[in-house]
């Protein structure tokens, strides 16, 4: 099985790109691949815990927790996250916090990389 790293940059709300990235990650890990997700830019807003899942809006928390349970490594860009006023103590448990070199290190080991751009 291979290793897939997804760079996810779009915001959680306002488009379906984020939802697609998580669905893709789930499909890959379910098939037995190792999957890493890097959040940067507006995507980092999605790692805040205690999201209320209103049906009119995409939600991140439930899906992120499920992916972490399945062994997906998820990391948020610390600078992007704190710039949006989200502190580590407010983040979803299991999401890693690191700098951009985390993404490059995962890319180094990956068979495939999907860079999913944002706004």
């Amino acid at each position: 099985m291979g290793m897939l790293t997804i760079g996810c940059f779009p915001g959680l709300v306002g488009n379906m790109t984020y939802d697609f990235a998580l669905k893709l990650a789930d499909a890959a890990v379910t098939k037995g691949h190792k999957v890493n997700i890097w959040f940067s830019g507006n995507a980092t807003g999605s790692i805040k815990a205690h999201q209320k899942h209103l049906k009119d809006y995409s939600t991140g928390e439930k899906h992120l927790k499920a992916l972490i349970e399945k062994g997906v490594e998820i990391c948020t860009c610390e600078a992007c996250t704190v710039a949006r006023g989200i502190m580590k103590t407010e983040g979803i448990e299991g999401v890693q916090w690191n700098a951009m070199h985390w993404y490059l290190a995962k890319i180094h080991a990956s068979d495939r990389v999907l860079q999913i751009g944002g706004e």
């Binding site: 940059f9 830019g41 700098a99 070199h101 993404y103 490059l104 180094h108 080991a109 990389v113 944002g118």
Partner: protein, 136 residues
Amino acid sequence: MGDVKLAFIVQKPQYKGETSRLAITHAISYQTVEILLEDGDTVTPKLCFIGEGVLGLQGKQNAMELYGITSTESHMKNSLLVDLDVLICKEDLAKYGISESEMPDAEDMGADKKIQIVPFAEIQKAMEEAKHVLFF
């Protein structure tokens, strides 16, 4: 695993979104990635600007003075300072009427590297040589 070559392809103007800036900062982070890799492993990115991505790269920017934030120019200079290969598409600069002499350098910071203004064929070559191509 050795060296892994990457091509960062910036297609959007710096002033139209955050991701074009993030392409630069992510590429710069190759400088510190070795702390997370095995001995002998490296990442070598090339940072390429094509299409509308060549807009807003000119020197003499005053973002810090006017808005209190770093400018694209300062990021370009930092890229050169850490010996990153920065390629800008010659045809696209010409398309938008931007003079090659307007591109910044980082001589004042002591950088040896210079921005490389190259035909698109050179950027195509960088993409072909890369293991992974990342579009921003």
